[in-house]
Amino acid sequence: MKKDVHGGIIMPKIYIDNKEYEVKDGKSLLETSLTLGLNLPYFCWHPKLGSVGACRQCAVKSFKDADDKKGKIVMACMEPIKDGMHVSIKDHEARKFRAEVSESLMTNHPHDCPTCDEGGECHLQDMTIMTGHTYRRFKFNKRTFENQYLGPLVNHEMNRCIACYRCVRFYKDYAGGKDLEVLGAHNYVYFGRHEDGVLESEFSGNLVEVCPTGVFTDKTLKKHFTRKWDYTSAPSVCNLCSLGCNTIAGERYGKIRRIRTRYNKEVNGYFLCDRGRYGYEYTNSSKRILTPLIKDAQSEAGFKQFDVQEVQSNLKTILSGSQNVIGIGSGRTSLESNYALRTFVGADNFYLGMSNTDYELNHIAAEILKKSSAEKYSLNDIENTECVLILGEDITNTAPMLSLAVRQSVRQKPMHRIDKLKINRWDDKTVRDALQQEKGPFFNITPAKTKLDELALINLHTDPEGIGEFGFAIAHFMDSTNALPENISKEYSEMAKTIAKTLMEAESSAIISGTSSLNGNILKAAFNISEACAKQGKKTGICLTFQEANSLGLTLLGGRKLSNIGKDESHHDSLIILENDLYRKAPEQEIDQTLKSFKNIIAIDSLMNSTTRKADYLLPAGTIYESDGHLVNNEGRVQRFYKVFVKEEGEVRSGQEWVQMLSENIDTDPLAGLKNIFDYCKAIEKEYDIFKGLADNVIPLNFREGAQKVAREPHRYSGRTAMHANKTMDEPTPPIDKESPMSFSMEGFHGTPPAPLTPFFWSPGWNSVQSINKFQIEIGGELRREIPQLSVLNKDSKNLSKEYYKMDLSDSKHRNDKSEWKVLPLYHIFGSDEISIVEGGIKELVPLPYIGINPKSAKKMEWKESTLVKPAGEEINKGIQLKFLDGIPEDCIGIPLGLKKMPFVELEAWQSLHVWEKSKDKD
């Protein structure tokens, strides 16, 4: 970057079609042109994947100087910005060439837009129109391909391919996938797997958005297909892990049809993981609770319907008659719903619906995040960090998008060499050819092998206690005021020394940890390490992940431990369970016991599960797409999700609305005066210092663009006069949104609204997801009209004690007898989360229950993979399969959490296994 005499940055001046522009240095001409709002077609370039110069679509004319009239054709994506450069987009030869490129791209394209899922939001359509190619001269037969089965999430239609190579560049180069390749040559290049099969990458769904045409499309959408212009959509937030990726959900005819990425520079950028993209199908499940239900022993389902008036009168009697009402909150629902329940039952009667271990760990994690001197790193920060240490988290499965960020971070340090070679960092193919396998320092300390092992300089797999110890050893070598754990081996100690040294020397570092290893020492070690780094004045960040989307928010609201229910003297008879399957949070017998102690159980939830089945009263909660509220993500970022549509079917309301209704019912009405989200936010920030600023983040209900609300439906929305014709000939008035300045119709503002209110990305001539370019201040930068998000942890932490944690040795349980195995928790992107696995594509991908074991230990036991086992003390009617996992320590077994029929696990746990049935395998 050039600087003037005062040290100010000199912006290069460039001339595009004789107009002068001041632009940023270090970018490509294509990126710059798009930032300037100029329309220049492209295919192989992607804002996150950089330039490769393959498609030749972004050709422009480059001139030597102002006097050069002839010029030459260059590709804008491969042209670095140079001060004083003269180029022309409008030049006749350049335009002609761009149209010619379109013409040849289209020679083999099937022109099946009317039956193609991409039609109407197709980058190929947009770009073809932009280049002006209209008349087809190619008169020969088109080539055809056979398509592949790629699993339940992504559909494959190779004939539409224009060979932009973006799919493999994303899948392999960016996301580290191994099973999507470009095969063949010349105009028979084939983008697919070596054979039919489920795509292995956790990020395969992004192919749908990365592909500029209809080769890779959303297979779950196919089941209930809708054109882009026919969705009612709203900005939402993924609630399937703690990262809080931003999404856009689209609805039609009362069903959520699909999820798309909502760009957020700091969080998920341009991508989503497959759990986040496809984990919506539960919303359309037949297991949905749609009307209030009351326990009915006579009926087959165990429940009978009752209407809202009955609910009100019945529950009024119950709740008014109760001496004490207990409430259990939920880590997967909004701050507002939890706050409503907490306020309604009173702080002393509010329990956080977390397992006891999770409760402890979330409090440690929250404390760490509050007081840490290190920055609270976003995914974007992690991506740009040179040295990463993971302690105890299999992030590929617990926070998948975080692993995508780590995959980019290992490229940061080698980039210095790229700068030295004078290669532009955006020149992607050249960068990769130059760097080859070179990686920056990344250390991966986890219980079992993970997908990120392939990137790490050091991998260490040991039990959670061992990871904690190892973490403390690293902290010791960074700052010797931390004691070195006594029992640590020489080998581990050397390894810890190396890691400590590398962290201290790194220009920037990130410490990633979390609660999934169910061990507090791991979190404490992560704090000590990041603190030691930060004390050196190094750029350091900490990133902790949680079990649920709002675990941190719920922890900050505060409440009691689940196991304390019924432990005190006071008598209580009614229990309200908010969106929570308690059987996932404690052993079955314990929950049975707890539930039995209540006379009346009211459950508010959207799906039937083990807990709701035990309820006396069931109130149908809206899913995240049918509700409004805020979630606090793992870095403390408070993010608003908006109601996508009003469910006409049944009596669905958000958890907060149900609690409010219960409250209105009784005389004291603790929630009196709270009418909407804004009121709730006001009340929350009044009660909690940490949430100060929450209400300011709410875009007021009376906000208008001109005089208009922001329309949830595009101006091309079709069928509105006919879609209700089965019920009424009049077009019904659309529902009124009481929570946001958005309309549930096509009436309203269609331009660029304040960023958090963006219901969909569209711009004239840009119908595909690429229209995001038009919503950004600069390519890859912040959205236009962004409103800074509230981060509750970025408060002043100076006054808080930064004292290092000491290793906690108190809880160490010991093996009862030699036959016991130490339990390791294992996680699955498809399987460990509660709601995404209920229906559809993801349900198909959930692994069968298994118990992971090191093949060496299995051999000692004379067990094979076909051996069926039974955990002692569990009542199961079928044996569980063993699965050989190399990385697992030899005295441990891995229990995949969340999978059906797997026992509940709280650490430190020891488990004996019995053989269920001797293997019939004779060899």
Partner: protein, 426 residues
């Protein structure tokens, strides 16, 4: 007339180390290793040696971009491009099969000049005999101490590895070759950075043609002035010229650079076969423009061939005679090029098959006048700078010149709805 490159070569035989050494072999290497690496580069630069693979870039100058000295990367590579897949080209094969040690000596000199840590021979897969001879020669050179650790007690280490290609035309492209050698898809790389700075496995790399490398021992042994004096024109050295087609004696000869096309065809190739007339020639392989009768006296060096509207290329002429259909001839070439496109950039991947289909239609009597427009359109659409590498622009060279010189023949196909050269109506 001196023929340093081929003086040892006897038809049907391969020169072994003993004979090679007897005829002065490895003297150049000994001299080279007594000099500074940088001096070798200057000598080669000043000798005027130009890349014999077709591009004609000054070899010494190419080397001079390789980072040298203490701060340079430890790993550097030299690669002999023996992937001779240009249709009509068979000059490197003569050198590989006839005198493999000459190449190895040249490679050691080049490696020493750029201080390469390893060297590779990237061999066309059909050249099985060449591969066998090279394998033997590498073993002999190792045995004699010309390869391995501490070569000729100078402290310089080098190994040469033979890699037999999977067999795609694009692998001969300098940067696609690097990808192929790394085990990746043979797709060209963009320049800059040039391989001299970031090449094989991201390290500084020189890729030289076999014939280019074979010149080195002689230049070092006998000096740049001697080398310059070998050519007729001022471009220096000798050149392996070849002729294929309906001539009396098709073959390959080492002649002073700057010999005329007439001399090559009429004297060395013995002129056209009886009953056949010369109509044109691709002077340097399939990806060069036709030259016709009026160019017969063109001097076959880099600058003169360019002036005549073509390129010296590999220096091996493919002759078109009057009994061969020029449309069929060009169609055959374009079919090859369309098939050999790597599929990376749009104009080449989708343009060449279109050209091939149009030519096929014309050849089969199904062409229409508009097709001429489609062909012409592609000659400008696939011009240099429009495509990622030089494959498609090269493929357009025979087509654009055929459209210029044999236009009537194309029109005859279209008007008569048949190929006039075919006896049977298809």
């Amino acid at each position: 007339m001196e023929t340093p490159l081929t003086k040892n070569i006897i038809k049907g035989k391969t020169i072994d180390l003993k004979i090679y050494e007897k005829s002065g072999g490895y003297q150049g290497l000994r001299k080279a290793m007594s000099k500074n690496p940088e001096d070798i580069t200057s000598i080669v630069k000043e000798s005027g040696l130009k890349g014999r693979g077709g591009a004609g870039f000054n070899t010494g100058q190419k080397w001079s971009f390789v980072p040298m000295g203490k701060d340079a990367p430890k790993e550097k590579y030299l690669i002999a491009n023996a992937d001779e897949m240009e249709p009509g080209t068979f000059k490197d094969r003569l050198l590989l099969e006839g005198d493999p040690h000459q190449l190895i000596e040249g490679m050691i000199i080049a490696s020493y000049a750029i201080q390469a840590s390893n060297a590779f021979i990237f061999m066309r897969w059909t050249y099985q005999n060449s591969a066998d001879q090279i394998r033997k020669a590498i073993a002999e050179a190792h045995e004699a101490g010309y390869l391995g650790r501490n070569i000729l007690n100078t402290g310089f280490d080098l190994d040469i590895h033979l890699h037999v290609s999977a067999g795609r035309y694009i692998c001969g492209e300098e940067t696609a070759l690097l990808n192929a050698l790394e085990g990746k898809r043979a797709i060209p790389r963009s320049k800059p950075p040039f391989p001299q700075v970031s090449g094989l496995f991201g390290k500084p790399t020189i890729v030289n043609n076999v014939e280019t490398l074979c010149n080195l021992p002689h230049i070092i042994d006998k000096g740049k002035e001697w080398y310059k004096s070998l050519s007729i024109t001022d471009e220096g050295g000798t050149k392996l010229y070849g002729v294929s087609g309906r001539v009396k004696k098709p073959g390959c000869w080492e002649l002073p650079l700057g010999t005329t096309m007439r001399e090559i065809i009429e004297e060395h190739a013995g002129g056209m076969l009886d009953g056949y007339k010369f109509r044109g020639a691709l002077p340097g392989g399939a990806s060069t423009d036709f030259l016709i009768e009026e160019h017969m006296d063109t001097v076959m060096d880099y600058s003169s061939a360019m002036k005549a509207g073509s390129r010296l290329g590999t220096g091996t002429l493919v002759i078109l005679d009057d009994k061969t259909c020029p449309v069929g001839f060009v169609h055959n070439l374009e079919k090859f090029f369309a098939h050999e496109s790597c599929g990376w950039c749009t104009p080449c991947r989708d343009g060449l098959p279109w050209v091939e289909k149009v030519l096929n239609a014309i050849e089969n009597g199904e062409g229409v006048e508009k097709d001429m427009k489609i062909l012409e359109f592609h000659t400008s659409y696939l011009s240099p700078g429009h495509t990622y590498c030089a494959l498609a622009p090269g493929a357009m060279e025979p087509l654009q010149s055929a459209l210029k010189y044999f236009r009537e023949d194309f029109m005859k196909h279209i008007n008569e709805k048949r190929c006039p050269w075919r006896n049977n109506y298809a």
